[in-house]
Symmetry: D2
Subunit: 355 residues, 4 copies
């Protein structure tokens, strides 16, 4: 028996080869097998990474007692049955985004993992990039102060997906990142979604999500498949400093601005006019932290191994994947009522656990 986590990769399509390559190269894991219904696809992946066992028989994989964990990169609608079977077979599970195709199914997966005492990890790869890890640290260390607003723009000329709208296609990135970096996670009190399908494709191609947070901040996401220019920018405003993450500027991805508005604490009785007298402005330096060159997916794999080893929830847990689904479902419902704000179904005690 090995000390390494023995992992089976299920699915040899778009993302599976990256998982296979990374598990193969990992010092924490051993790539046990690549499984795909089309075994020739699995074999091609194995060839490209210098060899690995392959199979088309998922049941055999799940019955193999030497396999500790299953990494699933199959289409979203197949996540639920494969994850449930894997958990029932006693395997730890990592699954691509989105966790499932409905919140209900995602919830079943989370509850089963919890019941079985197994790790269920969402592969929110972006969260393991040097930029996002740094943002999380800066916020945790209090560098930004209390969070005032989060504004994310993710737009480009994108493929119009056959089965999902622009919210389900692009917003999971922003939602999982916000849940990862914000101190209490993405605690949205409601979601308003405004979408537009100006080309008549049958689904939103331009979308906006407004999410007031419990802390009083506003989170907002703009996703767009029709923009000729590509923008990947998130601004996180805080009482002390404001951070801008421009992912398309490799020379200065993160900028931390020591600029903002200061408001001296005033008693609630004070009139608004008096309050004005207590406003001042800071125009300080800007600082761009150096970021290490590190592959995000290697961090994903290391976190899976560490969470299994340490018997703890992974940093991008099934619950965070579930929250993304909850927000997206609320967004879809809000779209159907012309953008009226709708509550996000958070996990409750009745469902067996607290976030």
């Amino acid at each position: 028996m090995s000390d390494l986590l023995r992992v089976a990769v299920v699915g040899a399509g778009y993302w599976g080869p990256n998982l296979a390559r990374t598990f193969k190269a990992s010092g924490d894991c051993e790539l046990a097998v690549i499984c795909d219904l089309d075994v020739s696809k699995a074999q091609r992946v194995a060839d490209r990474i210098g060899g690995a066992p392959v199979t088309a028989d998922l049941a055999a994989v799940l019955h193999d007692p030497t396999i500790d964990a299953v990494a699933i990169a199959t289409p979203a609608r197949t996540h639920h049955p494969i994850v449930m079977a894997s958990l029932r077979a006693g395997k730890h599970v990592m699954v691509e985004k989105p966790l499932a195709d409905t919140r209900e199914r995602g919830l079943e997966m989370v509850e089963l993992a919890r019941h079985q005492g197994l790790v269920l990890m969402a592969d929110h790869t972006y969260c393991y990039t040097p930029a996002v890890l740094k943002i999380r640290d800066l916020i945790a260390e209090g560098e930004l102060g209390d969070i005032l607003f989060v504004d994310s723009v993710r737009i480009n000329l994108g493929l119009i997906q056959p089965d999902v709208d622009v919210f389900w296609d692009l917003a999971p990135h922003d939602l999982s990142i916000m849940d990862f970096v914000l101190p209490g996670g993405l605690a949205a009190t409601s979601v308003s979604a405004h979408g537009s399908d100006p080309l008549g494709t049958g689904k939103s191609c331009v979308g906006y999500l407004a999410m007031p947070l419990e802390c009083g901040a506003m989170a907002h996401i703009h996703v767009n498949w029709l923009s000729p220019t590509k923008i990947r920018q998130m601004v996180i405003g805080g009482t002390k400093r404001t951070l801008v993450w421009d992912d398309l500027n490799p020379q200065q991805r993160l900028s931390v601005y020591d600029r903002g508005v200061d408001i001296a604490a005033v008693s609630k009785a004070t009139a608004a006019d008096a309050r004005a007298a207590h406003i001042s402005y800071r125009l300080g330096d800007t600082w761009a932290p150096a970021l290490p060159e590190r592959e995000a997916l290697a961090g994903v794999v290391a976190e899976l191994a560490a969470s299994v080893r340490e018997r703890r929830a992974p940093r991008t847990s099934g619950e965070s994947g579930l929250l993304v689904l909850a927000v997206l479902e609320a967004a879809t419902a809000s779209l159907a009522v012309a953008g009226a704000p709708l509550p996000v179904t958070h996990h409750t005690l009745e469902e067996g656990f607290v976030r």
Copy 2:
């Protein structure tokens, strides 16, 4: 009697001096007098521009039969009484944004001007910049095709205004520009406003406006007083091309992208899957039209003179100022119901005119 339009400037505060200077330099107008309750302020302005009559007596200005028009740059809450008095005195009127402090009062002004057969012009200065004039022309000439979406971002570290929120402070620019450049004006079917006051200033400092348009496009505005970086960008997507206006890039303010998604016309009966087969992508050239160097305010003054001379509505009419008020009032109401979409009160026949 002169062929020039004789104009009185009322208000010698922030904007009045610019008006006075521009009327003085205009070949179409004659600066008749600068009027301010504090006549010493009026005098200082007159001195700086090489001399002009000054007065503190507005009534005398309005009774002066040699004065053709009044340009009003006083605080918003005073617009209504001054405009109404001016129109009653038979003067043409130009007034700073916002037209009035409520839609109701703005409507009275528009109706009185119409009844009197006088010009009522909104000084939407931005609309007379070379960039916006070019955008209007490009859209009118069909260069963009049908409009699919309009997305405007106007954010910076801004003064927290004592009496208005970020919507009323910044969005009038975007709204008046959209009304100016879109073929049918800003025909919003509803407005959803999402605001946030994370510093407890008593008013929104971060705001989002989502406005579905009658043509099926979505218009959206992001305004923000708390952003450490300054962005002034509007993207107008069309079926043929998409335009990006980056007002802070003097080397390339306008870019027209021949990129986008083409959808072959399909019958309504066609299933969504079939439709996917008809989607194609264009990745053509980008084109940045040269813009003349021209002062916007000189264009404003020329338009006032021309509209009086030609007895026609100015390109930025009282009605367009009224529409801005209607959207802002709907936004304020939407804010009060957590962003639920509310209709915009458009002018109706009962109100005596059609846009």
Copy 3:
């Protein structure tokens, strides 16, 4: 016998694997063998690309009558013996930049290829990028008019090479591109090189090359290993338009500016003062041509096959590689005399051919 060009890749170090992969994927060529003194390196490359014969025996490769061409990616100092042997064995040759480590040796290679009637191609990969191909076409079609100046900046924090200075490391890119896109090639009448070794590394780390061209234009190159920011920009000014190539801006790599100075043709007798009256300025549109997504190295391989098939000089010929060496040797000599301008040794008839 195959219709495909059968190519041996010699050298399995940094660049050889890219060549091997591209030849393997090419529809024009067949990868015959990968040859490296360390056959295990060759084998690793073969494995990664899905298999290929390997060998450590270069002589056997050159004696193999089924092999048509040799692509050489070994250290620069080994180019001369391997190329000469390959040509003597009747093989067409493609060789990495720089062609050789001295101009003298490069000249021998060029002359032998010419004598043998074989193709000798310089792998100036940059010349086959969509941006450079487009630049060449635009200039050839007269879009820029006559060339007035060429200014190239290639700076970043770079590895201080053990055996070459910043000129020999970086400038070959700029020189080969200039030679490729300029109508008559890089016809430099002299070279002045200014270098600086402020860290005492024993070689220039900051360098400038000024090269007056026969047509009256000035070509200039700035190379720098010590710059914290990365710049890859070439400006090519013409009488009609000016082109800016910013290789680090994937959203707008090429911009063609219809801006410039026009001088009405005046007789030689006209005094300079009179001439001033004939100067006018154009401030026209900017245009950014769309560029196809295409891998440069595939273009290199296709050109090798085509030049052999069509018995013609390749677009990046041995002669162009030789010119790069001639300029670099002149630069090294100029450095030794504090930047005084020195002539470039161009190929002459006595040397057996004309460019």
Copy 4:
């Protein structure tokens, strides 16, 4: 008698009005008179700034014992006679760039001022911008370490001047700034100038200046009237950090990069190969210092007053203006010998003073 420095402004053309306005607004100076041969031009300036005495009689100005200093903004060829007369009349002098039209005449001015014990100040306005003042401070405080290279680019579509080439038109800015910020001033050991006149205007329109400095660093300037894009960028590399000044990026004018190459000190005996082992790379944070909003010309005026009051050389002294002339004359001479490096005539003891 006033404690304020009473200043006469001579010349009411392009720059004089700015001087007059700034002296008028200064708390340190009193605008005594505006003097221009065309007294109506002087009057127009006086009117625009709220009034000031005017005259066409320079002799009377120089004989007026209540006038302490003369600020000269006349054409360059007139600087010498006016400055000499002013100094002879016992007035302190500030003069526009260039100090004079030849180095010889500039030297006479410097020597006379020194002999008379009067202040002779060069109005190198750029040196008083917040960015340049900050650069000077950062270098003086050792933030950059020892200087390794200075590279300045100042290019745009510029007016082709009737009487000067691009070096004399644009390079004085870069030269005076370098002299201002470098610890020992711009101690160039030689100058190589490469110019090009591709349009046949009779003077260089594209120019490069290479200047090895005594400290071993290289200073380089690129000036260009024919560039369609505008660039104003100076990079100052140091052993500890490197600074980039991008004057056209108001959101981040200065960036200080903690990136670079470190070389462990090795004995002179060590071979170059061994040295390679001692090279390491730093990839640290970037820092953009906040800059105050301050008008440069107000700083110029304050410095004139302070240097007179404190009987000291101004920070931009006549000597620095003289150095600019010395470099430009060497550049002109170098141009005449095809860019061969020529020495800069520095001030020597024989000339009566040491810098």
